[in-house]
Amino acid sequence: MLAVRAENLSKTYAGEGAPVTVFSSLSFELREGVFAAVMGPSGVGKSTLLHLLGGIDSPDAGRVEVFGQALEELPPRERARFRNDRIGFVFQFHHLLPEFTAEENVAFPHRIAGESAGEARRRAAAMLDRVGLLERRDHRPRALSGGEQQRVAIARALARAPSLLLADEPTGNLDADSSGAVFDLLEELHRERGMTTILVTHNPDLASRCDTIYLMSREGISPAPGSSGGI
């Protein structure tokens, strides 16, 4: 079954001067359970593609289906619930909420889903334990190292056990050691949970450890030469 199917996506941003077309008629498919890396130069729309696949942005044209569900067809409430239940995001700069502790950050997906504060914290603690940061549960993001911040962000993204994880350069801001540790964690969790993972990265070593690599350019997106592709 296809985890992701994007057909003829176009996206243009209204810039300060002329509108900037990020991509047009971009199509992309990925089978369920695959760990895919997306590589490409800056500015070709890798992050935008993840945002469209995750439903936090809408294409100007085209269609996105995630696990057979066309996101654009969902009413806002259902779309938000779908995102909460089935999609996890990890961003390059962790984007943890600075006023909240690690545990509170990880608990947010559960609170948004309607769980009680106590239950959400209990589950968040379990998730933090899984990423090896239980003892840092009461620390705020600024008290954590870059690698720890990103591990908390991964714990938050996986809190609701999503079927699709979208990771936008999660190691892009880390040193080599932290980068390797974060990738190891992502890979481990991917295998453990059997989810579909799309990882945007500039690091060819990390990309080579994924099931498949896609190259993205102004012309579109395609499997890297020698890569099996995600289908």
């Binding site: 942005d57 909460n84 006023e99 609170r111």
Partner: protein, 393 residues
């Protein structure tokens, strides 16, 4: 606690560490507090005066008046007297005999038109013998130069038949007291004993109306309802509130105008709330995008900021109420604002805190603060999450 409230409270608590947000939050809360306190103190001042005025109204007006719907005298005064006497809480009931005439000094050189009416003998006992006693308003007394103990002539507008034809009814009265006038009372210029009033009005028996005083003026409405049921439809029963309706209306209007005027301070303070919350929306734009990526609804983002408005409003309102109520109580308790007693009949400015008004002010301040948060909250709900995250990199 919902997560929206949780986030709003944490944002407010953590704003202390960001000087610019903390400053604006403090200004917002202080502004609301000042507005609420000003409104409560102003209303307490008005209520203090108005309570005194109402107390005077209740003291000086008959609490119930029964008059004929048509005509100028009661058909069955005994029935009215019995009905009033049987009402619960009635202290006294008596007839009303009144009319208009001309009051002049004994020489007849100075005169003034007057309204006269009967009054119980009690207050007029100090009169001298001979001419019946009378109590004259200070306004009428000053116009004709009357002094206590002096004689005055009253000419009724009614006439009586004599062998020479109709002649005016004239009565000589002795000034027993000069009553200081008050804008609050509708008392006649000249008060005389009942027999004198009957003579002047040409009314040997019966009465033009009947009035009663109650032990509790606030029970007048209930007593009037009972009297209306027991009396025939030809009689009209009015309470002291109805008799003073124009003044009561003026007092209410005065309070409404003061409320609307001082409430502008709260509205202006609410503009600070708008800028405070708008600043937080801009500052937290990325976080809002992240929350949407986690599955939050736009409505939840709006709720965070509406809650923030409510909390800021709540803090400002509570602080304002505390300051306003305590200040009003102290001002009243320690007679902080003195008045010339001979001018105002009061030695100090009275302050009265009415719980109902405090409740209204609270409601208004909270609603204004939340309403002020609506605009930035809607902006938060409209945030494009992808853009918020993309531009924050």
């Amino acid at each position: 606690m919902s997560y929206e409230t949780f986030i709003a409270l944490r944002y407010l608590a953590s704003s202390r560490k960001r000087a610019h947000v903390a400053l604006i939050s403090t200004i917002s809360i202080l502004g609301l507090a000042v507005g609420v306190a000003a409104l409560i103190i102003s209303l307490a001042l008005l209520s203090g005066f108005q309570d005194k005025i109402r107390a005077q109204m209740a003291l000086r007006s008959p609490h119930l008046v029964v008059s004929p719907v048509r005509g100028d005298r009661l058909d069955d005064p005994q029935l009215v007297a019995r009905t009033l006497a049987a009402l619960p809480g009635v202290l006294s009931a008596g007839p009303v005999i009144e009319g208009r005439g001309w009051l002049c000094d004994s020489s007849g050189r100075n005169g003034v038109p007057v309204r006269y009416r009967n009054v119980s003998e009690g207050p007029l006992r100090l009169s001298g013998e001979g001419a019946p006693p009378a109590r004259v308003s200070s306004a009428a007394a000053s116009r004709i130069g009357a002094e206590t103990g002096g004689l005055l002539r009253v000419l009724s507008s009614r006439s009586r038949l004599s062998p020479l034809g109709p002649i005016p009814i004239a009565v000589l009265v002795r000034v027993a007291a000069i009553r200081r006038g008050s804008a609050l009372e509708k008392a006649a210029d000249l008060e005389v004993p009942e027999p004198t009033a009957r003579l002047l009005a040409g009314l040997a028996s019966g009465a033009q109306a009947y009035e009663a005083r109650l032990s509790d003026p606030n029970s007048a409405d209930a007593a009037a309802r009972i009297a209306s049921v027991r009396l025939p439809a030809a009689y009209r029963v009015r309470t002291w509130r109805e008799l003073n309706a124009p003044l009561s209306f003026a007092l209410r209007l005065e309070k409404s105008v003061i409320f609307a005027t001082i409430a502008l301070v709260i509205v202006v303070a609410a503009l600070n709330v708008v800028s405070n919350i708008a600043l937080l929306v801009v500052e937290k734009k990325r976080d809002l995008g992240v929350l949407v990526s986690l599955g939050a609804l736009p409505g939840s983002l709006a709720k965070i900021y509406l809650t923030l408005g409510g909390v800021i409003g709540g803090l400002g309102t509570v602080a304002g109420i505390l300051v306003g109520v305590v200040a009003s109580l102290l001002l009243d308790r320690f007679h902080v604002v003195p008045l010339p007693a001979d001018v105002y009949l009061l030695s100090h400015v009275p302050f009265a805190v009415h719980p109902r008004e405090v409740f209204l002010v609270t409601l208004f301040a909270l609603a204004t603060a939340v309403a002020a948060a609506v605009l930035p909250a809607r902006a938060a709900a409209r945030i494009a999450p992808g853009e918020a995250i993309r531009l924050s990199r």
